[in-house]
């Protein structure tokens, strides 16, 4: 099971629960499982978040694999403005 942690305000949509053990094997499955557990998360996950899998940040990457022992963080989308 992957350890999944919500960063920032997302936990306000789950009644304060910020950590999950999920069997998701891809970002797509991660979003589906989180939405099944807490439907209020769905629009926010669709709107755009970043997902850090074992330290590496992915954005808009639904097919990115998640390992059985992966450490996963769901955080605000990251962008920038340079140069």
């Amino acid at each position: 099971m992957a350890r999944v942690v919500l960063i920032g305000n997302l936990a306000q949509l789950t009644g304060g629960v910020a950590e999950f053990d999920l069997s998701a094997t891809s970002v797509k499955q991660l979003f589906r499982q989180l939405t099944d557990l807490h439907p209020a998360l769905g629009p926010h996950l669709e709107e755009g978040v970043a997902v850090a899998i074992d330290g590496q940040i992915y954005q808009d990457a639904l097919f990115e694999p998640i390992g059985a022992d992966s450490e996963v963080f769901v955080l605000p989308q990251i962008s920038g403005g340079c140069p």
Partner: protein, 755 residues
């Protein structure tokens, strides 16, 4: 990976000659036959309700061909989308490009006109009768947060607080991250430093003002030339705001005279298209510098509260911060990245950072290099220095002791892979600069900085021409050396001379979608797309060689710029280059080319450390930068001169932010310094040569090890200069800019203003 003949060298810039001779065409250089001139009527008030707009007198003026107001833009539903830097809401965007119910800042667009001459357009603006009901305004972020502050939006309810507010306010969002137990962390601390900081809004200060030329044909086909960091984004926004099909708009990004984040949004572009559609003639619009200051950018001003704790041997055990960022007239400041970056350079067990996104009667902020990070990291780096001083620890040593490294769990979530902060600290400490003695009134400061970096959707193509040269097309505007960097990668991948690769930036009709140039992503993502395009070419020529030589799969390979037969077949088949295949392309299957279409992931985080010497004139408060060194991890510098240029440019912009730049408002809510004479940016004579040290800790997720480099260099200067000021004067300055009047006042208060 291909042999690196060109990657890592300082090749001649393909766009350099045109730029130094004046031949390069920037936004305002494009013209079309029969074009009209567009001008914008802007609000004289910082906050007012629009009671009525009467355009009849203006429309009757001979030479006026089109006039647009809020009535020419359909309202948009509330929908947030990623917009290059922060999230944006189309409901707000449509109101920012053209005011609807209210004007929300001085300079807010109220109407636009297209006429046959500049003089007629200006006269027409004076004939537009707008009736305003002037409302109370609020400029300062703290004042805007007060319950009795003038309200900008009566439908803005703070997101991120429980319970959900039942009254609207100017606070759009509260955002928090936490790691460990902040209370327990402070209990472990032997020393705690707590400070409040304030930073001024600053403009990106690009030399080239916004410019757009639009031409809409009778069938609705639309062409647009504009100065932008992302022409695909411009296309998407214009299509949405004007109800057009994306496929009917073709946008060409002109050469760009700086963007720094400020050209990731639209201002003139939808207006020019709307005017052209109405007038049925091309319309050209160019902002004045005053309009640039009043109606575009800037980045947030902010207040920041920082509290840090450390043990007596220098280990950071707790970091707390509270950030209040101005968003301007509409929500969407870079508060969230500011929150996430604040403590990212350090390995701290207990962190809590809270941020607020606050609207006020200023122009809507746009991205500016590493949006949000310079502000929060400035405050933290100042406090880090104070802790070092209290504990008697060298400021580089305390940063090294606490530096994030591979395996550090960042407060914003992920665990870092290989990163180069410690390498940059070591590099700076070894410099002669660090070890040179200083005189009275001189000070030295050091600070580090972090930025995430991103990848994103990217398309690029390589086309082999008949003579063996290769046309390279990228879809992200070249601001910091993209064309040269990608050409070098293509040359090395295909084993051809660099000067045989001809790079251009294609229009939106030429390639698949490209996210914009921002987030330090264009060279990182673009080079990955070029590697993919080159793979396609190499696979194609290998397949052709097999057929020519009548060999089986596995009996040929591409290496050293040639297709070679392997094993015994190598003796009978002469290796063939890309140019050899170009000559017989028609006979062996047709034109040869490759296309890279990726959503680049794996952007490696970027860290840098800056070292600055300065001198304070106690009689005037003027600060002179004497010496400056930047060390930053580039992963792998594709073109070291361009990488150094990014380091130097970021440092200079940070120097301006720290020492001089600020938006100054009168009590009437109007900007008092909308020009370069009164908005003081550093010029070449204000700064010394910036020494650049390129550290290379390869990014394992990139084929060449590249990390983005464009944003991190603007982060450390603010803290480094504040720390140097403390070193020079003994005064901890907590408000930016540290301009001569403020410095002189602080010196006078302490009786230090005598030579």
């Amino acid at each position: 990976m291909a042999t690196q003949t060109y990657v890592g060298t300082r090749t001649i810039r393909p766009d350099g000659l045109d730029k130094v001779t004046g031949r390069a065409r920037f936004g305002a250089d494009f013209n079309l036959p029969g074009q009209l001139i567009g001008r914008v009527l802007r609000s004289p008030h910082p906050h007012a309700r629009i009671v009525s707009i009467d355009t009849s007198r203006a429309e009757a003026l001979p030479g006026v061909k089109a006039l647009i107001t809020r009535d020419d833009f359909a309202d948009q539903s509330s929908e947030f989308i990623p917009a290059g830097e922060m999230m944006m809401n189309y409901k707000d965007v449509v109101r920012n490009v053209m005011a609807r119910e209210k004007v929300l800042y001085e300079g807010h667009a109220v109407a636009a006109v297209a006429a046959t001459s500049v003089a007629i357009a200006r006269r027409a603006l004076k004939l537009i009768d707008v009736t305003y009901e002037v409302l109370p305004h609020v400029i300062d972020v703290v004042e805007a947060m007060r319950p009795d502050a003038p309200l900008l939006h009566d439908d803005l309810f703070t997101v991120g607080v429980e319970p959900k507010p039942d009254k609207p306010s100017n606070v759009a969002k509260r955002f928090e991250i936490a790691l460990g137990d902040i209370g327990a962390g402070f209990k472990k601390a032997d020393v705690i430093v707590e400070r409040d900081f304030k930073t001024a809004p600053v403009h990106q200060g690009y030399i080239e003002p916004h410019a757009a030329l639009a031409s809409v044909s009778e069938d609705g086909s639309t062409e647009l030339w504009c100065t932008t960091q992302g022409h695909y984004i411009v296309r998407a926004h214009c299509a949405r705001l004007l109800g057009l099909d994306i496929g009917r708009i073709r946008v060409t990004a002109t050469e760009i005279g700086g963007g720094f984040g400020g050209k990731t949004v639209v201002y003139l572009e939808p207006l020019a298209i709307a005017l052209s559609r109405k007038a049925k003639r091309p319309v050209k619009m160019v902002m004045s510098r005053e309009e640039v200051f009043k109606a575009s950018g800037p980045t947030s001003g902010a207040t920041v509260h920082v509290k840090m704790g450390a043990t007596k041997d220098g280990k950071f055990v707790a970091g707390y911060a509270e950030l209040k960022y101005q968003a301007g007239a509409f929500q969407g400041s870079p508060m969230q990245p500011g929150v996430m970056c604040a403590y990212a350079p350090y390995d701290i067990e207990n962190v809590k950072v809270i941020g607020y996104d606050v609207v006020s009667n200023r122009p809507k902020v746009a991205a500016y290099r590493a949006p949000g990070a310079p502000i929060s990291e400035y405050a933290v780096e100042s406090v880090v220095d104070e802790i070092a001083k209290k504990l008697g620890i060298d400021p580089i040593d305390i940063r090294m002791q606490n530096a994030a490294h591979e395996g550090t769990k960042a407060a914003y979530g992920p665990t870092f892979g290989p990163i180069g902060l410690e390498d940059t600290l070591n590099a700076v400490k070894k410099t002669e600069h660090w070890n040179t003695p200083l005189r009275k009134w001189q000070g030295r400061g050091v600070a580090s900085g972090f930025w995430f970096n991103i990848g994103g959707e990217t398309s690029a193509s390589l086309t082999v021409n008949e003579d063996g040269s290769v046309s390279l097309m990228a879809g992200t505007p070249d601001i910091g050396g993209l064309r040269a960097s990608l050409a070098m990668v293509a040359a090395d991948e295909l084993g051809i001379p660099y000067d045989k690769v001809l790079p251009i930036i294609g229009d939106t009709g030429s390639l698949g979608f490209n996210f914009l140039t921002g987030g330090s992503r264009s060279a990182f993502s673009g080079s990955m797309a070029i590697v993919e395009a080159a793979k396609e070419i190499k696979a194609d020529v290998c397949a052709r060689a097999r057929k020519l030589w009548e060999l089986e799969p596995g009996q040929v390979e591409f290496s050293g710029g040639h297709v070679r037969a392997l094993g015994a077949a190598a003796d009978t088949h002469t290796p063939m280059s890309i140019a050899d295949f170009a000559k017989i392309a028609g006979k062996t299957g047709g034109p040869i080319g490759g296309y890279g279409r990726i959503n680049a992931q794996g952007a490696g985080p970027s860290f840098g450390t800056h070292l600055v010497d300065l001198e304070v004139d106690p009689e005037t408060g003027r600060v002179t930068i004497l010496r400056y060194t930047v060390a930053q991890d580039a992963g792998k510098a594709l073109h070291p001169a361009y990488v150094e240029g990014q380091f130097q440019g970021g440092a200079v912009q940070g120097i301006g932010w720290a020492l001089n730049e600020e938006y100054i408002y009168g009590d009437d809510g109007k900007l008092q310094n909308p020009g370069f004479l009164d908005y003081r940016m550093p010029v070449a004579s204000d700064v010394p040569k910036i020494d650049a040290i390129v550290v290379e800790v390869p990014n394992p997720k990139h084929p060449y090890g590249v990390r983005g480099v464009g944003e991190t260099p603007i982060i450390p200067p603010l803290g480094a200069i504040a720390n140097a000021m403390e070193n020079a004067t003994g005064i901890r300055f907590t408000e930016l800019p540290m301009s001569p009047p403020k410095v002189l006042k602080a010196l006078k208060e302490r009786g230090l203003n005598k030579v």
